[in-house]
């Protein structure tokens, strides 16, 4: 019963009180000793892993991420008290695949937010950044990925699905062109974006996606203002840093692909 109340309370905060969701508990009390802070960090990681499992688990069980599973390592068979086997290996690989995007996005957000706080001499510690980022990614970023997954699997939203994919491709190609790199995506350049073909269902799903993105960025803004006592300008800088982080990520990927490997002797 207690857990159910916590879930309802969490949903209530996520939808109606995002400031309460991202406020670091240490903001209300003294931070305490290093041991105390490590304990809080551990509890945060538990929250994140549970939410990650809630997001990636159903996808894995439904079969997503379990295509092209590599060969099971020899030591895995019979490991973990006899649970290790081909089926478990497939599930574990699928879970890792499905978690990867959310993990990468969380790491990128954590880095962007904390670096912008440190650079503006506003940081009140990594733990406070972690509170805001872990709760906001668990709630809103996971929601964004869930909506994208819904678009990719549902009938009647083909135009919306194509629009979202084309938007992402157009963004990546914009960064590629800015670097002047000779790279391309497997699907090639997208055609002109055409929102005129959207069905009412697709329009509603995209509206939910827009709202989730707005919530995600707003929660990070609140995290900076509440947990690091940043002013409005620095809060906006955090949002800009997070918005710019995919550009940095794609740019770094392009450089990694196009920079010649250092020859070994």
């Amino acid at each position: 019963m207690g857990r159910a109340v916590n879930v309802v309370s969490g949903l209530y905060d996520a939808v109606l009180r995002p400031a309460a969701l991202v406020e670091a508990r240490t903001g209300r009390e003294r931070q305490g000793s290093l041991l105390n802070q490590l304990g809080q960090l551990r509890r945060l990681l538990v929250v994140y892993v549970v939410n990650l499992a809630a997001y990636a688990g159903p996808l894995t069980v439904a079969g997503f991420g379990r295509q092209n599973v590599p060969e099971m390592p020899a030591g895995f068979d019979g490991a973990f008290g006899g649970l290790g086997g081909p089926e478990t290996w497939g599930l574990a690989f699928g879970f890792a695949q499905n978690s990867l995007f959310l993990l990468a996005a969380t790491g990128l957000t954590l880095l962007s937010v904390h670096v912008s706080m440190v650079v503006t001499f506003q940081s009140n510690g990594f733990l406070r950044t972690a509170y805001a980022v872990i709760y906001s990614t668990s709630a809103y970023l996971a929601g964004i990925f869930t909506v994208v997954w819904y678009l990719s699997t549902t009938e009647g939203v083909a135009a919306a699905r194509t629009l979202v994919v084309d938007l992402q491709s157009a963004f990546i190609y914009a960064v590629i062109d800015w670097f002047g790199a000779d790279l391309g995506l497997p699907g090639g350049r997208p055609g002109a974006l055409d929102p005129g073909q959207l069905t009412p269902h697709g329009q509603s799903v995209l509206a939910v996606l827009v709202v989730l993105v707005a919530y995600y960025l707003y929660s990070l803004y609140l995290g900076a203002r509440i947990n690091h006592e940043a002013d409005r300008i620095k809060g906006l800088l955090v949002v800009l840093a997070v918005v710019a982080s995919p550009v940095v990520y794609v740019g770094a990927s392009i450089l990694a692909y196009t920079t010649p490997a250092i020859p070994t002797l």
């Binding site: 209300r28 003294r30 055409d194 959207l198 939910v208 827009v210 709202v211 509440i226």
Partner: protein, 182 residues
């Protein structure tokens, strides 16, 4: 002690701790009649509810009248639905807050300060003994001053209790200061 005057639209919003408003001359009474029972004012929440509704409906009407600004009917419809959803959520949020504020009561007696409210047949209560109060602060931004309310914080950073949306806060703050210093 100084009275800070940040801009804070609502309880969960952070404050700008940059204003240097000086404390008005307080008329501290030596005797305070207790218990003092007061409820938070609904005025600021009603104002925000009105603003959110008007801005949301206005945006939807503006987009509907000129969909070409956003690149066509398809995009305009998506944006209108997103604005409608955000406006609806905002309205619900402020309605819930109004309900909670109506159920909230602040009680100051000779020994304790209590903030309590009832919700879904449960009572939430937070009490701080006056003897344990180590700091107290009145925050009133420019907007709050205009609307005649403020927030009184006790023991900020030490297990704080906040009395938000207090109407005519200086009187209550003076009474609390008298009781704490006694």
């Amino acid at each position: 002690m100084s009275i800070q005057s940040p801009d804070t639209p609502d309880e969960a919003e952070p404050t700008d701790a940059g204003s240097d408003a000086s404390a008005p001359a307080s008329n501290r009474t030596t005797t305070v009649e207790t218990p003092i029972r007061t409820h938070p004012t609904l005025r600021p929440t009603l104002v925000w509810l009105g603003i959110v509704t008007v801005v949301g409906v206005g945006l939807i009407a503006a987009i509907g009248a000129a969909p070409g600004v956003l690149g066509g009917a398809g995009t305009a419809t998506v944006v209108m639905r997103a604005v409608a959803l955000l406006t609806g959520l905002g309205v619900v949020r402020f309605l819930v807050r109004l309900y909670v504020l109506r159920q909230t009561e602040y009680v100051v007696d000779g020994d304790t300060v209590t903030r309590q409210y009832e919700l879904f047949f449960r009572t939430w209560q937070r009490t701080v003994p006056l003897s344990k109060v180590r700091s107290h602060e009145l925050r009133q931004s420019r907007v709050q001053k205009l609307l005649g309310y403020g927030t009184i914080s006790l023991n900020q950073g030490l297990g704080a209790i906040e009395l938000e949306n207090v109407s005519g806060p200086h009187a209550l703050y003076d009474d609390l200061s008298t009781l704490v210093e006694r």
